[in-house]
C-alpha cells in the first residue's frame, strides 16, 4: 500500500520522488539482519563488531537507495541525519553505563551503617567501614568555600553590572573568564605554595580556599547574567523615590534576581563538591573523624573515592566502598542541580518574554 503512495507522489511536478516514511526502518531492519548473518557466518564474537557492521550497512544502504530514487542531494541529507542521530546515541551510551554501574554497584554497601561510620579501624582492603568522616569533611570544606566564594562572587557581579565601567571592569570581566578555565589542580598548587611559605601542614580550610577560588568565577558569571535581566525601570523607579543606590541594589535589584543568584551559587557548589585534586594536595585525607577544619588533615567524599580506588591494591571491598561513595556524591550533586533548577523556574524574573 505504501508503495502505491510512493508511486503517486511524482504526480506533483514541484517535488521529485521521495522515499516512503517507513523506508529508514526497513533499511535499518535489513542491515541488522544482514549484519547478524555476516556475524554468524564470519563467527565474529564481539557484539560491538555486529553493531558496527549494521551501522555501516545502514549508512551505505540509505545512501544507495536514496541516491537511486531521490537523487544524491537528498541522499547526503539522509546520511547527515543518521550521523547526527548516531552522535547523540554515542553520547548517551557512556552516561547510561556510568549511571547504571554507579547505582548497581553502589547500592551493595550503601546503608545507614555506611553513612554513619568512619574508616578509623578498618584497613583499606578489609570490608566494613563507611564515609561519615568524608561527609563531615566535604560539608565543612564546601560550606566554608561557599561562605568565602559566594559573597565575593556576588559583590563582584554587582560591581560589574551596577557600577562597572572603564578599564577596571573590563579587566575584571576578562580575568573572570580566564579564571573559569583554571585547572583545579593549579588552584590547589597556589594555596600549597602559600602553605609552604609558612610551613603549614594540611588542613581542611586550605582546601576550602582553593575551592573558593574555583567557585568565584562561576558565581560571578551566573549572578551577572541574572542582574542584567532585572529591568532598568525598577532601578529608576527606586532611585526616583530618593532611595540611595546601595539600598536600591539591596532591596530592589537583589530580591528580584535572588532566584537566579541562588541557582548559580548552588550549581557552583555542586561543581566544587566533586573536586578532588585540590583536596588531595591540601587536605590530604584522614581515615579518622576530624570535625575541625582548621587543624589537621580531613577526608572528603571525592578524595575518599580516589583513595579507596588507588590505595586498595584491587580489593573488592574497597571498590564497593568507592562505588557507594560515588553514588552518594552523584546523588548529592544531582539533588543540588535539581533543586537549583527548581528555584530557577519558580523564581524566574518576569521579564515579559
Amino acid at each position: 500500500m505504501s508503495n502505491a503512495v510512493a508511486a503517486e507522489k511524482p504526480a506533483s511536478t514541484l517535488q521529485g520522488a521521495t522515499l516512503p516514511t517507513w523506508s529508514p526502518y526497513a533499511i535499518a531492519g535489513g542491515s541488522i539482519v544482514l549484519a547478524v548473518l555476516i556475524g554468524l557466518v564470519g563467527s565474529l564474537d564481539s557484539k560491538v563488531q555486529w553493531g558496527l557492521i549494521a551501522a555501516i550497512l545502514f549508512v551505505i544502504g540509505t545512501y544507495v537507495v536514496a541516491a537511486r530514487i531521490e537523487g544524491t542531494r537528498q541522499a547526503k541529507d539522509r546520511i547527515a541525519t543518521s550521523l547526527v542521530w548516531v552522535a547523540f546515541l554515542l553520547a548517551v551510551v557512556p552516561l547510561v553505563s556510568l549511571l547504571w554501574t554507579t547505582i548497581s554497584r553502589g547500592v551493595k554497601v550503601l546503608d545507614v551503617y555506611f553513612l554513619t561510620h568512619s574508616m578509623g579501624v578498618v584497613g583499606d582492603t578489609e570490608p566494613g567501614g563507611g564515609i561519615y568522616h568524608a561527609i563531615i569533611g566535604s560539608l565543612e570544606q564546601v560550606g566554608l568555600a561557599t561562605v568565602i566564594g559566594a559573597p565575593i562572587g556576588v559583590l563582584t557581579a554587582i560591581y560589574l553590572v551596577e557600577y562597572g565601567s572603564g578599564a577596571l571592569s573590563k579587566a575584571v570581566t576578562f580575568f573572570v573568564d580566564v579564571m573559569t578555565g583554571i585547572p583545579s589542580i593549579v588552584a590547589g598548587l597556589f594555596i600549597l605554595s602559600l602553605m609552604l611559605m609558612w610551613d603549614m601542614q594540611p588542613f581542611g580550610f586550605a582546601g576550602s580556599c582553593a575551592l573558593a577560588i574555583l567557585m568565584m568565577p562561576v558565581v560571578v558569571r551566573s549572578t551577572e547574567e541574572m542582574l542584567k535581566l532585572v529591568p532598568n525601570e525598577l532601578r529608576e523607579a527606586s532611585l526616583a523615590l530618593g532611595i540611595p543606590k546601595w539600598r536600591t541594589i539591596l532591596k530592589v535589584v537583589l530580591p528580584t534576581a535572588i532566584g537566579g543568584i541562588t541557582t548559580g551559587i548552588m550549581l557552583s557548589v555542586a561543581r566544587i563538591a566533586g573536586e578532588t585534586a585540590p583536596v588531595l594536595l591540601l587536605v590530604f585525607g584522614n581515615p579518622f573523624i576530624n570535625n575541625d577544619p582548621f587543624h589537621g588533615a580531613q577526608a572528603s567524599l571525592p578524595l575518599y573515592i580516589y583513595q579507596q580506588f588507588a590505595q586498595s591494591a584491587g580489593s573488592g571491598a574497597a571498590y564497593d566502598r568507592a562505588w557507594a561513595a560515588s553514588l552518594t556524591l552523584i546523588a548529592f550533586v544531582m539533588i543540588l542541580n535539581l533543586v537549583a533548577r527548581g528555584i530557577a523556574r519558580w523564581k524566574a524574573p518576569k521579564t515579559g518574554r
Binding site: 560491538v48 547526503k76 541529507d77 547527515a80 541525519t81 547526527v84 552522535a87 547523540f88 553520547a91 548517551v92 557512556p94 552516561l95 553505563s97 549511571l99 554501574t101 554507579t102 559573597p151 563582584t156 554587582i158 560591581y159 557600577y163 565601567s165 572603564g166 578599564a167 577596571l168 571592569s169 573590563k170 579587566a171 575584571v172 580575568f175 580566564v178 573559569t180 578555565g181 583554571i182 585547572p183 593549579v186 605554595s193 602559600l194 609552604l196 577560588i213 532598568n232 532611585l239 540611595p244 543606590k245 546601595w246 539600598r247 541594589i249 539591596l250 555542586a270 563538591a273 566533586g274 585534586a277 588531595l280 571525592p302 573515592i305 580506588f309 588507588a310 568507592a322 550533586v333 544531582m334
Partner: protein, 335 residues
C-alpha cells in the same frame, strides 16, 4: 600580568561620565552607605584580579626555587627524579602526554559535540529537545573522580576489543601497535577526556547555532535546499568561530583534567610512539600521583610543572574568550 592589573585600579574614577548617561546615577558614591557598598563591590572585583596575579607570582616564585636546583634541562629531560642528590627532572614527557591526550580528546569530542548541538537545534523532534539538553547537562554534572573510577574499572576492560582490532589492522603504522598490556594508555585517556569535555563544547555550540539567522535558513529552504545544505551553507559558517572557541574551552578542560587521567593511566617517563601501550603522563596526573611521596624540593618541582600547565591553559582560554568577544561585536553590528 602585574602591570595589567595595576593600571585599571587607577583608571576608573575619570571614566564614569559616559556610563551615567545610560545607567542611573553611576556617580552615586556620595552617601556613606553608598561609599561603603561601592568600596565592598569594587574591592571584590580587585580581589579577583589580585588572586589571579598572586597565583602567577607565587607559582613563579616556587618554580624558580625548583628550577634553580634542577641539574638537568627542565624543558627537555625525560625523567622525574626529584629525590636524587643532584635532582634531575624535566617536563618533556608530561608536555607530550598532555598535548597528545588532549588532541585525541578533541578529535573525538568536537565532531560528536557539534553533531549533538545540531541535533538539539535542528534535528531532534521538538518534544525531545528539552530532555536531550538535560542529558547533556547531566554528563556535565558528574564529578570528574566518578568519571575516573568508571574509566578505570569499566572503560579500560571494554577497550581491549577495540585495541586488538586497531592493532590487527593499523598496527603497522606504529601509532596503533599494541603489546597486549592492560589498555591504561593515552588512547583510553583520550576517549575518557572526550566524554568529559563533550558537554561544554555541546552547550556553547548549541547557543551559537541557535542564534543563526532564521531568515537565511528559511530563504535557503525556500530555494529548495535540503536540511543538510541549510546547515552546511547557513548554520555552520555562522557558527564557525563559536565552535572554535567552544572547542578551545573544551581543550582547556582536557589539558587540566587530573583525576580521570590519574586513575586510568599507568604512567612512566618515556615517550611512546604507540598510543595503545600504557605509559607517558600529563602535568596534572603527574602532580596528583607524585605529590604524596614528594620531598619539599619535589613539591617545588611539581609546582614548577603546574606553572607550565597554568600558562598553557591561560593562553588557550584567553584565546577562546577573545574569539568569542570578537564574534559578539561582529554579530552585534549586524543584528
Amino acid at each position: 600580568m602585574d602591570i595589567s592589573t595595576k593600571n585599571p585600579e587607577e583608571a576608573p574614577p575619570p571614566t564614569p561620565e559616559p556610563a551615567a548617561a545610560q545607567k542611573p546615577a553611576a556617580r552615586g558614591a556620595t552617601r556613606p552607605g553608598d561609599r561603603i557598598f561601592l568600596g565592598l563591590s569594587r574591592g571584590s572585583g580587585i580581589l579577583l584580579l589580585v588572586i589571579m596575579a598572586a597565583i602567577a607570582v607565587f607559582l613563579t616564585y616556587r618554580a624558580s626555587l625548583a628550577i634553580s636546583k634542577d641539574h638537568a634541562n627542565f624543558l627537555t629531560t625525560f625523567e622525574w627524579n626529584t629525590g636524587l642528590v643532584p635532582p634531575k627532572f624535566g617536563i618533556a614527557v608530561l608536555a607530550f602526554g598532555t598535548v597528545v591526550s588532549s588532541i585525541i580528546a578533541m578529535v573525538i569530542a568536537v565532531p560528536i559535540a557539534v553533531a549533538i548541538a545540531l541535533f538539539t537545534t535542528h534535528y531532534a523532534p521538538r518534544k525531545l529537545r528539552g530532555p536531550v539538553s538535560y542529558v547533556i547537562d547531566l554528563l556535565a554534572a558528574v564529578p570528574s573522580i566518578v568519571y575516573g573510577l568508571w574509566g578505570a574499572l569499566i572503560l579500560v576492560p571494554h577497550m581491549v576489543g577495540l585495541f586488538g582490532w586497531l592493532n590487527d589492522y593499523f598496527g603497522w603504522t606504529g601509532i596503533f601497535s599494541w603489546d597486549q598490556g592492560a589498555p591504561r594508555s593515552m588512547l583510553t585517556v583520550g576517549v575518557l577526556l572526550a566524554i568529559m569535555i563533550l558537554p561544554i563544547i555541546t552547550n556553547v555550540s548549541r547557543e551559537v547555532f541557535r542564534q543563526a539567522p532564521q531568515m537565511i535558513e528559511e530563504a535557503a529552504l525556500a530555494l529548495g535546499a535540503t536540511r543538510w545544505e541549510v546547515i552546511r551553507m547557513a548554520v555552520i559558517p555562522f557558527g564557525r568561530s563559536g565552535v572554535i572557541s567552544a572547542s578551545m574551552l573544551g581543550l582547556g578542560r582536557a589539558l587540566g583534567e587530573t583525576m580521570a587521567v590519574a586513575t586510568v593511566l599507568s604512567p612512566d617517563f618515556i615517550i611512546h610512539a604507540s598510543l595503545l601501550n600504557p605509559g607517558g603522563g600529563t602535568f596534572a596526573q603527574n602532580i596528583a600521583s607524585k605529590f604524596s611521596e614528594a620531598t619539599p624540593d619535589g613539591r617545588d618541582a611539581l609546582i614548577a610543572s603546574g606553572l607550565v600547565l597554568f600558562v598553557i591553559t591561560l593562553l588557550v582560554n584567553g584565546a577562546a574568550r577573545l574569539i568569542i568577544a570578537r564574534r559578539a561585536e561582529y554579530s552585534g553590528a549586524n543584528a
